[in-house]
């Protein structure tokens, strides 16, 4: 379970982003976080990842305060975060290498995930030789190879074309069905949030002390996109986002 307990955060010399913000994520939940640009979505993800620390309050995962990146939290970023000087295979084993896993074991794990992501044929290619979708799948393989219990994603598909984006969204749904990984997806795309988030957190403009939570039980099904309930939920979320934006503008 992830608990965000009354956190306060501001970047040096900048306005307050979070002021006494609370949030609870149950184990195995699939959350999507949405909100206006600059509202602190990415910062919230970095706080969960242990890459930033709150000035007050705490983030805990399974009761442990997150002070630095946890070995079993995976992070996938918009720009893939791949090492340009490493091949797909070298990138995929990076997390395991850092953990000191034996060469044979880590290679097997990385190969398994690359094959699962349909990337076996580009294992020896560098990121510059791959398409955006392939790069993002390598980033996902690298993260899943470390067998995370928490998967954090920061607008992971925003720079991809529509078809590739939908393919990778389906992949994330597949992974959610198979495992007990807790996922938090930050996105500015309402359709993506509704497709992937069984719960949606709508952040208002900062300073944030509370946020709207939308239940979305239909998410997590591959055919959800084609159902009327999906479009209704998208409209509902869009309306709430606009209300929050207008509310904060007033």
């Amino acid at each position: 379970m992830i608990e965000v307990k009354s956190i306060t955060f501001a970047y040096a010399g900048k306005a307050l982003l979070f002021g006494g913000f609370d949030w609870t994520i149950e184990r195995g939940d699939a959350w999507a976080v949405i909100g206006p640009s600059g509202c602190g979505k990415t910062t919230l993800l970095y706080l969960l990842a242990g890459l930033r620390r709150p000035a007050a309050g705490a983030v805990t995962i399974n009761g442990q305060i997150v002070r630095q990146p946890r070995p079993s939290t995976g992070l996938i970023l918009q720009d893939y975060g791949l090492l340009p000087w490493a091949t797909a295979m070298e990138n995929a084993v990076l997390g395991l290498r850092i953990r000191g896993i034996a060469s044979q074991k880590r290679n097997e794990a990385a190969q398994r995930w690359l094959a699962r992501m349909d990337l076996a044929h580009v294992a020896n290619q560098y990121p510059s030789q791959m398409s955006g979708g392939q790069r993002q799948r390598v980033a996902i393989a690298r993260t899943l190879a470390i067998d995370p219990d928490v998967l954090l994603m920061d607008e992971p598909f925003s720079s991809l074309d529509a078809l590739t984006r939908e393919g990778l969204q389906d992949l994330i749904v597949d992974l959610g069905v198979e495992g007990t990984v807790t996922t938090v997806l930050v996105t500015h795309n309402i359709e993506e949030a509704v497709f992937l988030g069984r719960k949606i957190l709508i952040l208002p403009s900062p300073p944030i002390s509370s946020a709207q939570v939308v239940d979305n039980p239909g998410a997590g099904e591959l055919d959800y996109r084609g159902q009327p309930a999906f479009h209704e939920k998208c409209n509902q979320v869009r309306q709430w986002v606009e209300e929050l934006r207008n509310g904060s503008a007033k």
Binding site: L51, G81, L83, Y126
Partner: protein, 250 residues
């Protein structure tokens, strides 16, 4: 492509030799022997003492390159990552970088004597600043997202150095060395041309020019050019081997 490159180099070499031969024939003076006479002096010189002088000069310049990289790369990395340290050190670099280090030679000779140390020191100090500045800038230019992404895999400072900063700076280090190889050889020539009895500078000035043995003098110049060329190619090969990702992306 490589074959075409080799062919262009051979053609360029033939063109230089042709112009040299024509000029030497037209001039008809002892101070400008043709390439045949110089080649003969070069081969005969190698069987006498030219090989030893070439080996000594190579030792001095290679040792200087290794020393300068070993000192400048870690300091450059530290400055690139430590904004506070860089703020303190940057003005010192700013003031000392443009000083032509060769003018310090008399001072260096006074303090370090006329032996090996002073020669290696003057070349090292010139290369040191070149490498320091590019490594600092390259290290500073590493995208924060890449660092976040690798940190999220559990990387500590040593891992970041090994997997991010060092490979990120390697092309810049090799480029700076390639750019400064010419300067290093020129300084080597200058430092070896007086108060010494070894090295190609000594061979050219004392054994060639001083004795009016012009073919030997040119043989020394050829040896020094070959030394520069060999270092240049060695750096090229190192880049191809260690920075294969750059070629792959082109």
């Amino acid at each position: 492509m490589a074959q075409r490159n080799r062919l262009s180099i051979i053609l360029a070499l033939l063109a230089i030799l042709f112009v040299w031969q024509v000029t030497a024939t037209l001039a008809g003076i002892a101070a400008l022997p043709g390439p045949g006479a110089v080649a003969s002096a070069f081969v005969q010189g190698l069987s006498r003492d030219l090989a030893t002088h070439l080996a000594i000069s190579s030792y001095r310049v290679v040792l200087s390159i290794l020393l300068s990289v070993a000192l400048a790369a870690p300091i450059g990395l530290a400055l690139g990552q430590g904004k506070r340290l860089d703020r303190f050190i940057a003005p010192i670099i700013y003031l000392t970088y443009p000083v032509p280090k060769i003018v310090l030679l008399p001072i260096i000779l006074i303090f370090l004597g006329i032996g090996e140390v002073s020669k290696v020191f003057i070349i090292s100090i010139i290369l040191f600043f070149q490498v320091l500045v590019v490594v600092r800038d390259a290290s500073n230019g590493v995208r924060p997202e890449l660092i976040h992404s690798v940190r999220s895999l559990g990387a500590g400072k040593v891992h970041l150095f090994r997997y991010v900063y060092l490979p990120a700076c390697l092309p810049a280090i090799l480029t700076s060395l390639r750019v400064s190889t010419g300067t290093a050889i020129a300084v080597l020539f200058f430092a070896e041309s007086f108060a010494t009895n070894s090295g190609l500078g000594y061979y050219i000035i004392v054994e060639g020019w001083g004795r009016m043995a012009y073919a030997d003098m040119y043989a020394g110049v050829v040896a020094m050019s070959l030394l520069g060329l060999a270092i240049y190619y060695a750096l090229d090969l190192t880049e191809k081997k260690l920075c294969a990702w750059i070629q792959a992306g082109q």
